[in-house]
Symmetry: C2
Subunit: 496 residues, 2 copies
């Protein structure tokens, strides 16, 4: 009988964990897309049981010694990077007691499920009853993580989604954005006042929208032998790298948001489908961070998807599926997709007002987690900030206000900054890509998207978690995160 090296034993354990995560991902996808209402209690219990199992598998007493032993073994670069990520997972899990993990999973699942009907019913008090428990448990989680790691409680939660980022840095970046964004929005809105934008005339049958979405996914290189498109209340990209499940939602009176939502989720999906196949079962083979994940969806949605060149490319598809309308000219589509209009809904927001939605959520969730406000204070604060940042009146409209997002329902506090980080990374990638390919827009308009896919594949997808986020971005673009690219992109597109 041969003895496994410590590293091999760890790799085996993480393969097992990968399979547990597979089951969790598929059962969660099913919960959001297929499951009838009465299935939820048993599903929530089964998912919580699985989270306990995952947590237990990550916290067995022998692991500390095994990781230390593996660190002394001869490993190649990928194995070394894998071991770094193994240690990260292990540390994160070992800071939390199992009972807390299970309680949070259960409370989150219950709150999320009830939210699916509470949101359309505008039922804030009903939501609050479940949400208080989610907040209580998330604060406990944050407190425990913060004490052990010496960071602020909110930073400790954020670290799960964007390792290495601090809320102080986020705040610095966001304060800077708050400095120029309102002026830019004002300027662009004045400029767009004289513009004529034709509104597409619906209704647009769901089946046709779906067929159009599938065609656009094909164009974007989504591998349908390794994934699906379905419908859920809140669009997401789930499943596993070998079988990526993206969702959208349809409105018969408006195809514009749903279509760009599909472009967005397809960006997430291609990242997953492009991760290094030989390493999928190990932490190093998985996506780098949520900020990097959003940088892929936003590379697709914002950098590529809303560019005039891409809209020129897909305008014929829109006409093929939805019929001929003047509104479907590529020029009008470009005006539609760059129209700046402060509104209620984050996922429907235009590129320019989007960061304001994120800054608002960041400020509220950080205050909530750090005990400066309570859950019941959220609506008033929401109303105040929406008025201040976007001039929008959300009073009494919880459905399109603080109930609109899924993130808080299951306690995913600390995620929101990833969206705007993602937008900034994406702007930085495309600046690098354009330096290499000065005729990029002509290529895109001609239907050659390969330069985009190749660049993202080479620099991001195929790299998995081989590098820490900072190094990944630097290797890809030649410098660390630099928000100036984001501002320059916005000014070029909206004032250029």
């Amino acid at each position: 009988m041969t003895t496994l090296s410590a590293y091999s034993a760890l790799a085996e354990r993480f393969t097992r964990l990968y399979r547990y995560h597979h089951l969790h991902a598929i059962a969660s996808w099913d919960q959001a897309t297929m499951m009838p209402a009465k299935g939820n209690e048993a599903r929530a219990a089964a998912l919580a049981e699985l989270q306990v199992l995952i947590h237990r598998t990550l916290t067995e007493p022998g692991l500390a010694g095994q990781i230390a032993a593996a660190e002394d073994e001869p490993l190649d670069d990928m194995e070394r990077a894998n071991l770094r990520e193994i240690r990260r997972s292990w540390e994160q899990a070992n800071l939390l007691p199992e009972a807390l993990v299970e309680a949070k999973a259960l409370a989150g699942s219950r709150c999320e499920h009830a939210w699916r009907t509470q949101r359309p019913a505008n039922d804030w008090p009903g939501f609050l009853a479940n949400f208080r428990e989610v907040v209580r448990l998330s604060r406990e989680e944050a407190q425990r993580l913060a004490e052990a790691t010496g960071v602020r409680p909110y930073d400790a939660l954020m670290d799960k989604f964007e390792p290495g980022m601090s809320s102080a840095e986020i705040e610095r970046v966001f304060e800077e954005v708050k400095g120029w964004l309102p002026g830019l929005i004002r300027q662009v809105r004045e400029r767009q006042e004289g513009e004529t934008v034709l509104a597409p005339a619906g209704p647009f049958a769901v089946e046709r929208q779906r067929a159009l979405g599938l065609d656009v996914m094909k164009l974007l290189g989504f591998d349908f032998d390794g994934g699906r498109l379905d419908v859920s209340v809140h669009p997401f990209c789930g499943g596993v790298a070998e079988d990526v499940r993206i969702t959208t939602r349809y409105r018969e009176d408006d195809f514009v948001q749903s279509l760009m939502g599909i472009v967005h989720e397809t960006g997430h999906a291609r990242y997953e489908q492009g991760l290094p196949r030989d390493w999928l079962s190990q932490p190093v083979g998985q996506a780098r961070s949520m900020g990097i994940h959003e940088s892929q969806s936003l590379s697709f949605e914002m950098q590529l998807g809303r560019s005039p060149a891409f809209l020129e490319l897909i305008a014929p598809l829109v006409r093929r599926h939805l019929g001929e309308q003047e509104a479907f000219s590529s020029a009008n589509l470009a005006r539609l997709y760059t129209r700046v209009q402060p509104g209620f809904i984050r996922v429907d927001a235009d590129e320019l007002t989007y960061p304001a939605h994120i800054i608002l959520r960041f400020e509220i969730e950080r205050a909530l987690i750090e005990g400066e406000i309570e859950a019941e204070d959220i609506p008033a604060l929401w109303d105040e900030k929406m008025q201040a940042y976007l001039g929008v009146d959300t009073r009494g409209n919880f459905r399109d206000g603080c109930l609109q997002d899924i993130h808080w329902t299951d306690g995913s506090f600390g995620y929101f900054p990833s969206y705007t980080l993602g937008a900034m990374y994406a702007a930085q990638y495309f600046a690098a890509l354009r330096r290499q390919q000065p005729d990029l827009d002509a290529q895109i308009a001609a239907g050659n998207l390969a330069p985009v896919f190749d660049w993202l594949d080479r620099h991001i997808w195929s790299q998995g978690s081989r590098w820490e986020t900072g190094e990944l971005v630097e290797r890809a673009t030649g410098e660390a995160l630099n928000p100036a690219y984001f501002r320059a992109h916005l000014e070029r597109r909206y004032l250029g």
Copy 2:
């Protein structure tokens, strides 16, 4: 700190197992209905990992003592019955080594997945390459179980599906059936020769068939808040009791089989939906056996579904969804659904020739498991028996021959007898029910299906696994399994 009783500790463990089974059921349903091809390798690995976990949870060393200790604790009747079922699960799991469980799960999953494309391609040699391994591992399983329990290898496999039944008893019953069935088939076919049966004229759009199926499921009391209807290559009833997933398959040129398939699976589904809610997480709250499960699907399909009264009830639904045709008169539908016509496909077989399909499979699989034949001998044996029992020539047609069923692909040997046992139990139930409700057919034709549902709920569904199979049937009908009711039912319906 209080110490749990041994019984409570066992109940907690079995709740955990119930949740693992939940994940297995949903991921398996997804594999058959939703999953794209490239997802299979990872899915198979995840499901096998879960089976290992389940096996490990059932084989921890402390369990033997815990079960023995619980048997000495004061328990009420349900707890006592639950403990009996806990012991049964534990014994079954502990007789097999983990490596064998995992290897069989993997081989089965691979073979089943490949079969999905091999069957339409009529690719017996391709199938055989995977299937040999499934047979090898199933024989090993049978051998180990047989040695430990002192029964024949085949009986040891059958015990998983129909506890307490022996192949000697099956053989006795089947030999008897072989005595009268061929003559009955001949007599009925002669009688039906002069009958005019109008063939429905297709095509029937899948969406309309689906809408009709959903309406029939409503009529049959399927709870759509606790289940779904989808499509798969091989129809089945899966999911969990709280969320029952049934499937069918559609052919545009024939709605007759698909519709009755839905009635069949709805019978399985109502059993699951009717199991005792307070005991669902425990073995005693689960379905009694596969024979009893099939007795529910066949109560729905054969006793109720193909009765003239029921067809009178659903004829207007058929016309509403598929349009007006002379063929959709209730009298013609009754002739269609009782038409006896030996054919290739078990699941499409009429009520009368169906047992011949089962007897053939029973004879082949018993010989295969007990080493009297090899996997490569199956086609010749299949051809010979189809010719002998049904006068049908299957040579070279593997697709509609020995490749037609899913059961062997994952090593579910010993299941097939459950179908004909189920048909016999169902005939016996309806004989008892008719003694109580002499006007049953009039009630059914008038749309009052409550007497059927109430009887099945009271005697079968709500009982879960409280009684051993023999006692369940005896309590329900006043006597042990008596195949005479089956023969009487067939003679009444087909010669009456």
